[in-house]
Each structure stands twice: as structure tokens, then as C-alpha cells.
């Protein structure tokens, strides 16, 4: 089981951090922290770019994040044409972890403010596909 069911378009089936999908399907957005140097990453990495260790721990992204910036995508790239318009946002969560995700459809463009609070949760897409998105708190 890998990333073949991830997102609108999956760019890879095999990945060393494929446990991410198992957690996502179980309702949790999880990522990794390096046990050697303590650096944490999103998306998860099985190998730490900072110290090159492969000894990593999984933890759940919980609590409130804040919106750092966003863009309204009117023209999606190949494979995403039918999804547009959608909003891509950069949120910052506990420990300074930065996450790029779509804003849920429950957030309207007029309600978006940089600095606003966000939550993150898995989202089910058609054809048994899964992703994650930001939601209102």
C-alpha cells in the first residue's frame, strides 16, 4: 500500500514514508520527527535532510495552526483542471511545521485572513481517494 490513492492526482505509488497513507485512512494526519537531531518535517520524510539519519518517529499534527499565506488557483495544472477554482494555503502548526494544503470548501474567499486559525484533517475524495485539508476552527 503506497500513495496510489492520494490526492486528485497521485505522482507516485511507492514511497518510503507510505505509512502516511495508512494513518490518513485511519483519520489522522501524521508526520515525522528525526530521533537523532529533532528536526520535524511535513510531508513526512523517512530520511532526515538535516543530519541524514533514517531513525524517525511518527507524530500526529494536532491543534490549531495559523494561515501564513494563500493563493486562489483559477487554472489548475494538468489533472487538476476540474478542481479549479480552489485555494492553496500555507499553514503553520505547533513546532513551526509549515504545511501546504487546500482550504476546505467551508472557508469562503471573503472570510480568509492571513493569521487566521486553521485545523487540519483528512478528507475523502471520490473513487476511494484521500487527501488532507485545512478547515475552520
Amino acid at each position: 500500500m503506497g500513495f496510489e490513492n492520494f490526492g486528485t492526482v497521485s505522482f507516485t505509488a511507492a514511497a518510503k514514508a507510505a505509512d502516511f497513507m495508512t494513518h490518513l485512512e485511519a483519520g489522522k494526519v501524521m508526520t515525522t520527527r528525526c530521533r537523532n537531531c529533532g528536526a520535524s518535517y511535513f510531508p513526512p520524510k523517512a530520511d532526515c535532510p538535516a543530519c541524514l539519519s533514517s531513525d524517525v518517529d511518527w507524530f500526529e499534527i494536532k491543534g490549531q495552526g495559523k494561515l501564513n499565506t494563500y493563493t486562489i488557483v483559477n487554472y489548475g495544472p494538468t489533472g487538476f483542471e476540474n478542481d479549479a477554482p480552489y485555494i492553496l494555503a500555507l499553514g503553520e502548526f505547533e513546532g513551526g511545521i509549515q504545511i501546504l494544503a487546500r482550504l476546505g470548501r467551508d472557508i469562503k474567499p471573503d472570510d480568509i485572513k492571513v493569521g487566521m486559525s486553521l485545523a487540519i484533517s483528512p478528507v475523502k475524495l471520490p473513487d476511494n481517494r484521500v487527501a488532507y485539508e485545512f478547515n475552520k476552527v
Binding site: 518535517y41 499565506t69 486562489i72 487554472y75 504545511i99
Partner: protein, 218 residues
């Protein structure tokens, strides 16, 4: 930025976009992904480029004006943009620039003409800052003062840039080298920078995963 690059693109017979655009044309174009509009984005293009590289003594035998590679820099960054230290610059470009300047023994103010990776209008401003042509946050001032036009302090993308030429990905870097070689050989009749002796090429791969900086001298 696009007004400048479209001005020079109109004079470049190899450019995809050869129409000179006014500020209103650009500001009134449709939003692709906010705040970037159609004319803030380079077009996908097909293309090919070729560079002949030879040992010094061989080069002297095959051309009257060999152009010398005097500085090279290459650096990489993480695949994901979200986790990077800064979103207002590309660290791979800053590092590649530092390496190339060091190898050439030159400073940003020694560059007479440059080609930078303007895949979007904002990318050219970030390149000014990453290469030291402007301090961080001051890249906008450089174009507002028209200092990157052919007769400015540091002419940049006076062949129209990727914004006018289009971006054939693998061929783009070679096209940038060609422009600087023509400038240093004083063959850039459409927009020759007077007395150009040293030129710089800044090329970015992916979304800032790879940065390459090359400094050339006539």
C-alpha cells in the same frame, strides 16, 4: 517587470511572445493564481539549444572571440517548498551565486549584463536579491528605477527573458548562455549592453530545488 521584458522580447526574433505590452495590458489580464496574472507567467514552449565547450587552445582555433567560463556555482534545496527557511528567496540560488562569485573573484557590482530565471515576474525580483544586485526586499526598487534595462546599472534579461521567449525547460539554460555569449561578443544588435565584459547566467530547476550560476568573460 513584464513591460521591460516584453519590450526586449519584441526585438528578439526567437521569442514566443513578440508583442510589446503596456502596463494596462498586463494589469488587465486574467488572474491565473492570485496575485499572478496571465502576463506574470512565462509560456510553455518547445525549443532546443546547443553550447560548444572546448579547451582554451582549441577554442582559440575555432572562434575569434572565445567566451571564457570564469565562475560556476551549483546548489540544491528540499523538494518541498513549505519547509524552507525563507519563502522570499531561493537558498539554492544564493549559494550557487556565492560559489560562482568566489570562483570568479568578482562581486555582484562587477557584472555588466545578466540573464536570470524569470519563469514568473516575481522570480526575476527574487533573483535580483538572491544574486546581490539588490538587498533583500529592495529588488522592486531596481526595476522601478529601470536599472535593469540595457542602459541601467545592471541590465537583466534584455533578450525578453523566459516571459517573452517562453520556457522550453531543458533548453532554457542554453538559451540564457547564448544571450550572454552574444552580449560579450557585442553581437546583440537588438539590445547591446555597451562595453559588456562580464556576464552572469542564473538558472533555476523545479521550484527552487536546483540553482545554477555561471559567470562568463570575453
Amino acid at each position: 517587470m513584464r513591460v521591460k521584458n516584453s519590450h526586449y522580447g519584441a526585438a528578439n526574433p526567437k521569442a514566443t511572445y513578440r508583442k510589446e505590452l503596456g502596463l494596462e495590458d498586463i494589469l488587465n489580464s486574467e488572474v491565473i493564481t492570485s496575485p499572478l496574472k496571465k502576463f506574470d507567467c512565462c509560456a510553455n514552449a518547445d525549443g532546443a539549444s546547443c553550447i560548444i565547450v572546448a579547451r582554451g587552445d582549441v577554442a582559440k582555433g575555432i572562434t575569434q572571440v572565445p567566451i571564457w567560463i570564469i565562475g560556476l556555482g551549483a546548489a540544491t534545496d528540499t523538494m518541498t517548498m513549505a519547509g524552507r527557511k525563507s519563502l522570499t528567496g531561493l537558498e539554492c540560488a544564493q549559494e550557487a551565486g556565492k560559489q560562482a562569485y568566489k570562483m570568479a573573484g568578482l562581486k555582484p557590482q562587477d557584472i555588466d549584463v545578466a540573464e536570470v530565471h524569470d519563469c514568473f515576474t516575481v522570480s526575476e525580483i527574487l533573483a535580483y536579491e538572491d544574486l546581490g544586485f539588490a538587498k533583500p526586499g529592495e529588488g522592486v526598487g531596481l526595476i522601478e528605477d529601470k536599472q535593469t534595462y540595457a542602459d541601467g546599472k545592471i541590465p537583466v534579461n534584455v533578450d525578453g527573458g523566459l516571459l517573452s521567449k517562453g520556457h522550453p525547460i531543458g533548453a532554457t539554460g542554453g538559451s540564457q548562455i547564448r544571450t550572454i555569449v552574444r552580449q560579450l561578443r557585442r553581437q546583440a544588435t537588438e539590445a547591446q549592453v555597451k562595453g559588456a565584459e562580464v556576464g552572469l547566467v542564473h538558472n533555476i530547476g523545479g521550484i527552487g530545488q536546483y540553482g545554477n550560476v555561471t559567470i562568463l568573460r570575453r
